[in-house]
Amino acid sequence: MLELPDIMRILPHRPPILLVDRVLEFVPGERIVTTKTISASEPCYSGLADPLPDAGYAYPTSLLIESFGQSGALLWLCSARHRGESVEGTLIFAQAKECVFDGRAYPGDVLRHEVRMDHLVGSNAFMTGETWIGDRRLATMGSVLAVARDSAELPQAQQPEPATRGLREGAT
């Protein structure tokens, strides 16, 4: 329902830290279903000792949560747009609580994030949901918080290098 160019018009994230490929379902203010395909060519797999045991190629949990968080940010921003509003400021991934992981993902797997908007307080979006591979649940996300803050309130980084722009500009 939304492809990469649509997603890039909404999220500030850019490859290689743009971690949502496609939106399958979207119910404004309620839920979103997204996918992210894991590939061996992603930066997290470069420069590793070769070959590693199987577990060495498990997709990093931090990136999995980031991918879920970006899906949540899409739900938040698309819902705001749907209401004719906008979310001002820099998107920040603030916290994840009560997350339970039932397995690992590997290159070739397609992650499917089902994110529900739990509660929105001003510029703070509390999300909940699950991440699946097919019919196997990989993670239950109890509470993931994304916030938007005025750039002036944030600690000032040096001018970002082009290669890390995505990371610094949109760390949801």
Partner: protein, 85 residues
């Protein structure tokens, strides 16, 4: 103090304890969230969010700076939820 007030105080204490990851008994009506229970601004927002959801009330973010301890939170919620003082 009527039982309704006590019940609401206990419920809010329970919410705050969950968010701050401490035992409810540690929170008194006047113990400071920030100074005594190490709450930061995100924790404060989380307490606000959970209260809004539980009591189905809307509390303006401008009230956040007032919500420094259990009693202060109760007063803000009571005002917006229309609880009798």
């Amino acid at each position: 103090m009527t039982t309704a007030i006590q019940q609401h105080l206990d419920e809010i204490r329970e919410i705050a304890a969950e968010v701050l990851e401490i035992e409810p008994e540690e929170i008194t009506e006047t113990s400071s969230f920030a100074e005594e229970h190490e709450a930061d601004s995100l924790r404060a927002i989380e307490i606000l969010a959970r209260i809004e959801k539980k009591y189905n009330v809307e509390i303006p973010q401008a009230e956040l700076p007032k919500m420094v301890n259990l009693r202060a939170v109760y007063d803000v919620v009571a005002q917006h939820a229309g609880w009798a003082a």
